[in-house]
């Protein structure tokens, strides 16, 4: 398994922890509310062919919590700054959950450095009439189990989260997640109005039994982003990259290959 280098990057006074591994086209992976700081097998696999860059968002994990952090749009602006600072071009931008929301907000603003966009179980929009679990009324254990299709797959993550050394980080991550997503819950009513501006090839990857942002959210995103390709992953909850890593990597690579062939 490809081991990442870990270092801190200072972007306009905000220090963020960044893991990076592999070589090739840059792939910026924006984590969700529940997988900050995880270097998963899927990222290692992608690093065999890409320059994989995985920051912990401001307010999460080992990164600073800057005074300016109020909204997901703030993080979109932050990552545009980070792309400029690292002078990255032709970036494959992949975002999961609230990281997908950040990625969508970023791509609406500016795709100058972006080659493709992949949203995985992404937050950011509202779909009426779809039941969602309320993560803020779940216990720590329930909240993790909600993420998986196969409850047995949740055990490792439940165990990790229960370790005392993760208590502070877990509370910090939850506090930032609340700050960014509490109200309106998990979306910005203004985002959907501008998703048509996204002008890079877009892939949507969704777990068939996602209970956090159910599959109807994928359909809604597919309608709002012209030409977006949707792949629904069977036997999979909210974390396709963790619950079905091989399928996830294969789907993503196929999309990136086809895009390359088309170019």
């Amino acid at each position: 398994m490809e081991e990442p280098t870990a270092r801190n990057i200072d972007v306009r006074g905000c220090n963020v922890a960044v893991r990076r591994a592999g070589a090739g086209r840059p792939l910026l992976f924006l984590h969700g509310a529940s997988d900050a700081g995880l270097w998963t097998p899927c990222l290692a696999d992608l690093a065999a062919r890409h320059d994989v860059i995985v920051p912990e968002h401001p307010g999460f994990g080992a990164s600073d919590t800057p005074a300016w952090l109020d909204t997901i749009a703030d993080l979109a602006g932050f990552y545009l700054d980070l792309l400029d600072q690292l002078d990255l071009a032709n970036v494959h931008l992949v975002g999961h959950d609230l990281g997908g929301w950040i990625a969508a907000e970023l791509a609406v603003r500016n795709t100058r450095r972006i080659a493709s966009l992949t949203l995985v179980g992404a937050a950011g929009i509202f779909v009426p009439g779809v039941a969602q679990v309320d993560p803020f009324l779940r216990t720590d254990e329930q909240r993790i189990r909600d993420l998986f299709h196969d409850p047995a797959r949740a055990d490792a993550m439940v165990k990790r989260a229960a370790r005392p050394e993760f208590e502070d980080i877990g509370l910090k991550n939850q506090t930032t997640a609340a700050r960014l997503t509490w109200q309106p819950r998990g979306y910005d009513p203004h985002l959907a109005k501008w998703l048509h501006r996204i002008d890079v090839p877009t892939l949507l990857v969704w777990g068939a039994s996602d209970r956090v942002y159910p599959r109807e959210f994928a359909d809604a995103y597919a309608k709002l982003i012209a030409g977006a390709k949707l792949v629904v992953v069977p036997d999979c909850g909210h974390l396709p990259h963790i619950e079905q890593p091989q399928l996830f990597v294969a789907t993503l690579e196929e999309f990136l290959d086809r895009k390359r062939a088309a170019a």
């Binding site: 009324l137 509370l171 506090t175 509490w182 309106p184 819950r185």
Partner: protein
């Protein structure tokens, strides 16, 4: 000591088994369980009790604010305060308090409280709180903004009361081009400000610095004594000696002829209060961002929301006082001396306690307790007691 009649106005006809099955009387306990006929009856019953408190000689009556719960039917306490402003003739009228961060327009509290202060010709006491965690689930307000919004709303309201309008107010959460509320408060410079809290050290420090009366909610008396000592220490650091008048203890008192009778009568109703109406999961009580991470860890470690509370423990630990007139007098005096407060915010109705028993309790307190405490102040050094 001043003794106030503090009402929570619970929906006392609630189906306690249904609350237990739901896990809480808050946020998710369906309002399908609310019967408007019974509810309307309760509003009048409880307002009648507040008017009785005035006639019986209680020093004040207190209301508070909670949302979407059978625990208390006062989401908009100003409505009830308005009803009482003319019928309560003598006693102080306190709202303890309005939950400022829940408001998108805190200027309306400046207006509402100023109106109540005028209506009562200066008998009004203005309480400000953040609201408990459940409120943030119920009202869709971001708990991570709670402390900021409280500070900003408080600042805006006090300035609206004291600084000649119109003026501009620009904060992070609230912006007004014209702050110029009519009426202005009746009291000068503004009604007394009281700060109820569960014991957050930052709130205690701030209240002491501001010289606001600090009210400690439902806690064992030893804990109350510790928090009140913290207040006196913070006052000292701020360069003054806090008076016992700045400290209020929120309690429950039930008086009957004998200790045994009092315990027998109060027991099921206290049990309903602490094990049904108050119960909620930790996630509801402590949404992320509501408190700093250290406080959240401390409260989680104490597992306050998990285990049932026994009524005997409530009495033994001095959370409530239940007994014969003599027992209640002894305990209240002991606790006053231990913690050094000069205001008792007393729930005379609690949980499912019906009207006749509440009135008997109020009358007994008025006859047997009030006269003995009217001129009583804390007897010995609280510092020695707390140490």
């Amino acid at each position: 000591m001043k003794i106030f009649n503090f009402h929570l106005m619970p929906y006392r006809h609630a189906d306690l088994d249904a609350i237990e099955r739901n896990g809480s009387a808050w946020v998710t306990y369906s309002n399908g369980h609310y019967d408007p006929e019974k509810g309307a009856g309760l509003y009048h019953e409880y307002l009648d009790q507040m008017e009785l408190a005035d006639r019986l000689g209680f020093d004040g009556v207190c209301l508070n604010e909670h949302h979407q719960t059978a625990y208390g039917m006062m989401p908009i306490p100003g409505v009830l305060a308005g009803a009482l402003a003319r019928s309560v003739k003598r006693a102080k009228l306190a709202i303890l308090g309005r939950a400022l961060p829940l408001l998108n327009n805190p200027l309306m509290v400046a207006e509402e409280y100023a109106m109540l202060d005028n209506l009562t010709r200066g008998r009004f006491i203005a309480g400000f709180v953040r609201g408990i965690g459940a409120e943030y689930h119920a009202m869709g307000i971001n708990p991570a903004h709670s402390q900021d919004r409280f500070a900003e709303a408080h600042d805006l309201i006090v300035r609206a009361w004291t600084q000649p309008g119109p003026f501009q107010y620009v904060g992070k959460h609230y912006h007004f081009n014209y702050v110029n509320p009519w009426p202005r408060p009746y009291q000068s410079p503004h009604p007394p400000i009281w700060i109820p809290s569960q014991g957050s050290s930052s709130t205690i420090r701030w209240a002491a610095q501001m010289r606001y009366t600090y009210a400690q909610t439902l806690s064992p008396i030893a804990v109350v004594a510790r928090f009140f000592q913290m207040y006196r220490d913070e006052a000292e650091k701020a360069g003054y000696a806090a008076s016992p008048d700045q400290l209020a203890w929120s309690n429950t008192i039930y008086v009957a002829e004998t200790d045994e009778k009092a315990m027998r009568e109060a027991r099921p109703h206290l049990d309903a209060l602490v094990n049904r109406f108050l119960k909620m999961p930790t996630e509801m009580l402590l949404p992320p961002g509501y408190s700093n991470i250290e406080s959240i860890k401390r409260i989680r470690a104490a597992k306050v929301t998990g285990k049932p509370t026994s009524v005997d423990d409530l009495v033994k630990n001095g959370v409530v006082i239940v007994g014969s007139p003599n027992t209640v007098r002894e305990k209240l005096a002991e606790y006053q001396d231990l913690a050094g407060f000069n205001t008792s915010l007393t729930k005379t109705q609690f949980g499912t306690l019906p009207d006749d028993m509440t009135r008997a309790n109020m009358t007994a307190i008025a006859e047997e307790i009030l006269p003995h405490f009217r001129d009583r102040v804390p007897q010995r050094s609280q510092r020695a007691a707390a140490e």
